[in-house]
Amino acid sequence: MNDQHLAVRGASKRFGTASVLDDLSLAVARGEFVSLLGPSGCGKTTLLRCIAGLLRLDAGSIAVAGRDISALPAHRRNVGVVFQNYALFPHLTVAQNIGFGLRAQGVRAAEAAPRIAEALALVRMAEFADRPVTALSGGQQQRVAVARALVVRPTLLLLDEPFSALDRKLRETMQVELKHLLREVGITAIFVTHDQEEALVVSDRIAVMNAGRIEQLADPATLYQRPASLYVLDFVGQSMRLGGTVSAAGLGEVTVETRLGTVRAPGAFAPGSRVVVAVRPEAVTLTETPPGGRNTLAARVSEVSFLGSRTQLHLDLPAGEDRGVVELPRLPPGIGPGSAVPLAFPIADTMVFPAA
C-alpha cells in the first residue's frame, strides 16, 4: 500500500480538557473503502470533521494525494461529505441541491447541466430532478446527498453514519448499492459508523477506534478472526470468552485453567498470567467425541435464541469477564434452557488475550 491517497499523521484534538484524538495516524490507499468503527465518543466523527476541514487539528497533519491540506479551510479542500441526516437544502429542488457545489465553484450553467444530469442518472434519481427534497423518502434523500457530494469530483468522500437514518431492511439494500456505486466511480471513501455489521459489509478495511486512537486497522476477516485486543474482540462480532490463569506454556501454545475446564490456545504467556481465552460462536460444536486438536468444555444453557439461519445458545456463566455465546446451524433436539452441553472447538481457532 505505498499508493497512499489519504495520510493522517499524529492527529491530536482536544475539546477543553478532553482528548478526543490522541496522536492518531491512518493511511488509506487510492480507491479503498475504510470504516472508522467505534462507540460514540471514540473520536471517529471528530476525525471525519477534521479531514473535511470543519474542525482544525491541534497537532498533526492530513495529506490527500500527497498534498498537505491541514491548513486549508473546508471550502478549499475538495473533500466530499455525506452527512448523517444528509443536510440537504430544503429550499432547493433535487437538481438544485446537486448543482449547489458546482455553482459555488463557479462552474457555468451550460457546463453544470450535463454534470447534474449525469449525477442524477448515477443515483437513479433522474425523474425526481425538479421535486423538492422534502418530498423524498429516506433512501432517496441519501442518494441525493451522495450525488451532491460526488458531482464536484471530490478527491475523497467521507460518509458520517450514512445509513443510520434508514430502517433496517432499506439499510441493508443501500449498503450494497452504495458500495457498488462508489466502486464504479472509483473514489476513495471513509465511512464513520458505530454499527459493526455495516462496517463489515461496506469496507475493505476497518479501523476500530477507542478513546481517540486506532485500536486495530485490518480487513474484515482478519479483524474478526484475529482481533488484536479484547476491545476489538468484543466490539466486532460475538464470542465465548472465559477468564483464566496460564498453567503451562511452551512451543507457541499455552494451557489455561478456566472455570469450565482446561483450554489450550496458540500464544505465548508466562505461567501464572491472568488471561482471557475466546472463541467465535460458529467455531463451537456440540459433541462429546470430538476429533483431535480440539478443546472440550462442559457448560449449561441459559437461553436459546432462534435467528432463522442459525440458533444462538447463551451459556450460563457467572457474571464478570466470562461471556458465552455459541452459534449452531441447527438446534439439536432436546436442548433448551437448563440443558448441559458438551462444547468442542479447534485449538487453532482459540484466541488468548491478556486480562484487562
Partner: protein, 263 residues
C-alpha cells in the same frame, strides 16, 4: 349533541370575528362621508377628508417621521437581532436561556414603564434630542419581535447544512448567505413586519420622548382628535388599513402567509 356543540363553537367564532372586524370596517365608509362628524351610516360621498390629510398641520410630517422611525428601527433590529439569535442558538453564550428571556422581556413590560425608564436614562446621559431618543427606544421595542421569530426559525435550522455548503465550496459567510438566510427568510419577514407595526403605532413609549416639533403619528392623531374630531382621522386610518393589507399581500407572495404565522 356533537353537532350542537359544533354549531355553538362555530357560532361563537363567527361572533368574535365580527366583533373584532366591525369597528375596523366601519372606519372605511365613514372616511368617505360628506358630513363633518363621525357618523354611521355615512351621508353622501366625498374625498374631502383625504384631501384634508395634506392640509392638517403636521400630519404628513408625522406620517413621514413614524415611517422613517419604524423602518430604521426595524432594519437595526433585524441586523442586531439576527446576530444575537445566532449567538444564542449556537450555544456560545453561557446561560443562553436566561439571556434570551431577558432580550424578549420588553414584550412583557408595560410600555409606560419602558417609556419613563427610557426618558430618565436618556436624559441622565445627556441625550435630549427627540429623534435619537425615539430611535433608541424603538430599537428596544422592535428587537424582541425580531428576536422571537428569528430564534424560532433558527431553532429549527440544521447548522449541518452550513457545514454541507462549506464542504461543497462555499466560504463560511457565503454558506450563511446561501443556506441560512433563505431558510429563515419567513422568520425575517414576519419579524420585520411585527417590528415595523410595533414601532409605527407605538404610543406609550413615544409619548415620553417626543417634543413639539418631533411628533410620531399616533401622538399627532390623538392631539388632532382633541382639537377637531372630524373624519380626517377615519381617512388616515383607512390609508393605514390599505397599507397593512398591501404589505400582507406582498409577504404572502414572497414567503406565504402560512409560513409567516405558524400555528
Amino acid at each position: 349533541m356533537e353537532r350542537l356543540g359544533r354549531w355553538l363553537s362555530g357560532g361563537a367564532l363567527a361572533l368574535v370575528i365580527l366583533f373584532l372586524l366591525l369597528p375596523i370596517l366601519v372606519v372605511i365608509p365613514v372616511s368617505f362621508t360628506e358630513a363633518p362628524v363621525f357618523r354611521f351610516p355615512p351621508e353622501g360621498f366625498s374625498l374631502q377628508w383625504y384631501e384634508k390629510i395634506g392640509r392638517v398641520d403636521g400630519l404628513l410630517g408625522a406620517i413621514g417621521l413614524s415611517a422613517r422611525l419604524a423602518l430604521l428601527a426595524t432594519v437595526i433590529s433585524l441586523l442586531l437581532g439576527t446576530l444575537c439569535a445566532i449567538a444564542l442558538v449556537r450555544g456560545v453564550v453561557p446561560g443562553a436561556a436566561a439571556v434570551s428571556a431577558f432580550m424578549l422581556s420588553p414584550l412583557m413590560l408595560p410600555g409606560l414603564v419602558l417609556g419613563i425608564a427610557m426618558l430618565q436614562a436618556l436624559r441622565e446621559v445627556g441625550l435630549r434630542d427627540a429623534w435619537w431618543s425615539l430611535l433608541l427606544a424603538h430599537v428596544v421595542i422592535t428587537l424582541p419581535f425580531v428576536m422571537r421569530t428569528v430564534l424560532a426559525s433558527l431553532s429549527l435550522f440544521d447548522f449541518g447544512m452550513v457545514d454541507a455548503a462549506r464542504t461543497l465550496g462555499c466560504s463560511y459567510p457565503v454558506a450563511l448567505w446561501r443556506v441560512l438566510v433563505p431558510n429563515i427568510l419567513p422568520g425575517f419577514v414576519s419579524g420585520a413586519l411585527f417590528a415595523f407595526i410595533a414601532s409605527f403605532d407605538n404610543y406609550p413609549v413615544s409619548m415620553f420622548l417626543v417634543d413639539v416639533r418631533t411628533k410620531t403619528l399616533p401622538i399627532q392623531l390623538l392631539n388632532y382628535l382633541e382639537i377637531s374630531p372630524d373624519p380626517t382621522l377615519a381617512a388616515v386610518s383607512t390609508c393605514l388599513i390599505a397599507l397593512t393589507v398591501a404589505i400582507l399581500l406582498l409577504c404572502d407572495r414572497l414567503v406565504g402567509l402560512r409560513r409567516l404565522a405558524p400555528v
